[in-house]
Symmetry: C2
Amino acid sequence: MSERRPVTALETPVPVIDLDRVERNLARMQAYADEHRLALRPHIKTHKLPRFAQAQVALGAVGITCQKLGEAEVMADAGLDDILISYPLIGPDKARRLAALARRVTMRAAIDNPLALETVALAGQEAGRPIGVLVEFDSGLKRTGVTSVAEALALIAQVKVADGLRFDGLMTYPSSAATADFVRAVRDAGIALPVVSGGGTPGAAHAHEIAGVTEMRVGTYIYNDRTLVELGAARLEDCAFLVHATVVSRPTETRAILDSGSKTLSSDLVPRGAAAGYGLLVDYPDAVIERLSEEHGMVDLGRCERKPALGERVRILPNHVCVVTNLHDAVAVSRDGMVEGIWPVAARGLTR
Amino acid sequence: MSERRPVTALETPVPVIDLDRVERNLARMQAYADEHRLALRPHIKTHKLPRFAQAQVALGAVGITCQKLGEAEVMADAGLDDILISYPLIGPDKARRLAALARRVTMRAAIDNPLALETVALAGQEAGRPIGVLVEFDSGLKRTGVTSVAEALALIAQVKVADGLRFDGLMTYPSSAATADFVRAVRDAGIALPVVSGGGTPGAAHAHEIAGVTEMRVGTYIYNDRTLVELGAARLEDCAFLVHATVVSRPTETRAILDSGSKTLSSDLVPRGAAAGYGLLVDYPDAVIERLSEEHGMVDLGRCERKPALGERVRILPNHVCVVTNLHDAVAVSRDGMVEGIWPVAARGLTR
């Protein structure tokens, strides 16, 4: 659906994407990866849009990353190939779905435990072709991933003898100083590592400094957000995703109410209190979105010289764009302030 | 879609609703409203399901409350009538949509400012029938609502002379001690108030103690959640909505990773730190869901004697159920542990 009208004609609240900025962000990261001979395998969790995944591959990405099978199913339906599930899959239902995917596209999966190994192996056997496996290790986040080299070696040994699996290498999130040490220790144990997949947009500019990493999994770089700006990993003019909102009430001189609450912006804050409030009003940077209800955003204008009027449209840079994408059934894409289309967020809500 | 299988056969993560508990919760609140001769106008923002709205009306609700027009459109399509939009509507697009609704069902709207008045009046004129208006006042939340009796009186005077509007009374959220004072002051100014609409599940059991309130707008009572339990406004056995999840990784003795992160549970915490973490593991109450990524829930098991195993299914009581509903395209409804159906969350994501 393409509609030639200004973005300011769209009913609010509405997420609006600037295609020129998206294209610059995608090209810049691909150029970085190319320069440093790193494979780029973008994470689609940020946009959940097949067309942007296709654009990433057209620019040179080796494939894509998905967190959940539901995302991968949407992407495979749209013609994407070579999909890494960077997440432990557990149980017969996941095995069946992974097998169905592996019959039609190249699938890879990360594992950090024997049940996930069993699940992926079952899928490879059912599909009749081996599934490439990355063993995930913890580089400091204390999330998933084996926590010792010994565990990694034990799991790798199991992968190598399992029917339906092919050992491809290691994976971690995010890339860190500990990453290089871990990779070296595994290599020193005599294990060949065709792939070492690292991740994270915040540290992406330093990915080439982590010895051993061969692949970058990054997601947020396509849009950027307020957290990345606060971290110094993006500039405001690199931010491609804004929520357009309306001031629906002005109960006092210093309070404005936006038509955007936690069901529009999420409740995610900028980590470690590096910036106040639930998003940045880019045209009123001294305003603070101090509280959210589900559909209301309460804005403190106490520090603003210039204040938005009742009925005025304002633009919000989200704190964490990946969860905002996931709240909206569709996004408006634009160029030079004109709407180029309304795109359904095809992989939205697919947490299984 | 009805499927006779145990809820434990559903792939995770999945929201599972206990219909027996829903029915008890609905009946209890209606009985309370009937006992105290209060009109009950449930807020559908919590469930966003036409079938539950119909059940609420069948039990005796006078109509329903919606926060946004998109929710009201879904509910009107499903045959619901007498719908209050408890939210300031601003602009010609909202007027057009409100008019279209008012042509087919009875619509009411809350306003707290002249632009919202203008929008609703335009809709009433276009629809050819007046729209009932409640003037919203602030009873202490510092959200929307006029902040003085003088402002309320001025707005009421404008409503009374506006073409396309009918003055129905006052609205506030939540009901509080300040509510009764405000209502009395408006009455003392000689204004008849057919409706005084108060709200909030947390204080619902005391709604009849607020002099002047004639109507209850409550939403969360249908499911209840961890916040209401912590507030003492619900018991654990009244909670009808749990997210079923799977332990997908057990990296250390005291850490479990769930397949449910902020895209499944939201990042909402229990207000004022009254309970730790991003939801309650009902079968492991000493566990703490201490961090969320988008698709990972990091659980600290340090205080648990008994610990969930890798691959185990667990059940999570959400901190704030209204935003969790809004993350899922569908919910499983169940009775006695058996799936009765998978219902699309028809009004999900409709923030406009």
